[in-house]
């Protein structure tokens, strides 16, 4: 009979631990879905996405008219939009930050571009194309910084910047590869929407 009680205790304990582990707010590794469930898609989220879309297209129009400062202004408005807490918001803002960084880099504003990249990376921590793209932009930024330093005769600093560029571009590739691996495992669900 002692064996029976032991088996019972082990079974109950195991199930309790699994329930607590998967229901808790901590690590959900080993649980069915490590991706936290968000709130339902609602009007607030849609309003933000709609405004973000309009501002991206506004930036397109200004860029095509060679008005890069105007495009930057449009995107600065985008990243300052009031928004609900949602994964989509983080990803859209991160993407806008990457675009802003590229535009500022084109204008020679390396430090401003660096700030945008860092702010964007704060938004997207997991392995997504958004993070990979930001790391790629950061790598291009360091490459541009290295070239500028080399032109200024600062050979050692230029070499360090170029080494950072290579590291960042390698990290970007790793993130992209991990996204591709995950997509292959998931079978591309949600892709058809």
């Amino acid at each position: 009979m002692k064996l029976g009680w032991l088996v019972l205790a082990v079974a109950v304990g195991t199930s309790a631990a699994l329930v607590a582990g998967c229901r808790g707010e901590g690590s959900t590794a080993g649980c069915p879905s490590a991706e936290p469930a968000g709130p339902p898609v609602d009007e607030a989220l849609m309003a933000f996405l709609s405004a973000a879309r309009a501002l991206h297209h506004e930036a397109d129009v200004r860029q095509s008219a060679n008005d890069t400062p105007g495009a930057i202004t449009s995107l600065e408005r985008l990243v300052a939009l009031p928004a609900p807490g949602a994964v989509e918001v983080d990803e859209v803002v991160a993407d806008a930050r990457a675009r802003l960084a590229e535009l500022r880099l084109g204008q020679g504003d390396v430090d401003g571009a660096d700030r945008d990249v860092h702010a964007g990376l704060e938004r997207v921590k997991g392995p997504t194309y958004f993070r990979g793209h930001l790391l790629e932009v950061q790598g291009l930024l360091e490459e541009a910084r290295g070239s500028a330093l080399a032109d200024a005769g600062k050979t050692a600093e230029a070499a360090r910047a170029r080494a950072r560029a290579v590291d960042l571009l390698e990290e970007a590739v790793k993130v992209q590869e991990s996204v591709i691996d995950r997509a292959l495992v998931d079978g591309g669900k949600d892709a058809g929407r």
């Binding site: 088996v7 793209h133 591709i180």
Partner: protein, 162 residues
Amino acid sequence: MSDPRDRPDDPLAPATDEELAESAKLREALGDPSRRNDDAELARAMSSAWSPRDLSTEGHRSLVHRALIGHDARRRRNRVLRVSFGASAVLALAAAVVLYVRSDRPQPEAVHGTAMAISRSTQALFQDRFAATGGESARIDRIAMARAADLRDNEFAKWGVR
């Protein structure tokens, strides 16, 4: 010529020590039914067949005792079986709980019994890695359209018209 009483099968020969010991055991077994002795069992069976009589108190007690020993053994076997089935049931219950938790977590909210689309990463909307430059407007277009469809579905779910 030898004395025929010296032959081992001579019924009139004096009893050996072994025969004396066996007869003592038989006597004791006949007096105490709880002692196991095949010869005593045979003697009792023959006696009962010739002139049946009520069981003695000792005989009854002995039979009950033997029966209970067998019953206890069966009870122990049954208990092991019950514990095994119980443990299996508990394990099955634990597995069911785990399956419930697994199926519960990623499910979107439900209104009127219809699943609601929840906020989630847009990564799945993009099959290929992003181009080094450009493409942001196309991405926000795709995201906005996908979530607009989700919002429409959620509104229908709230109204209960799906």
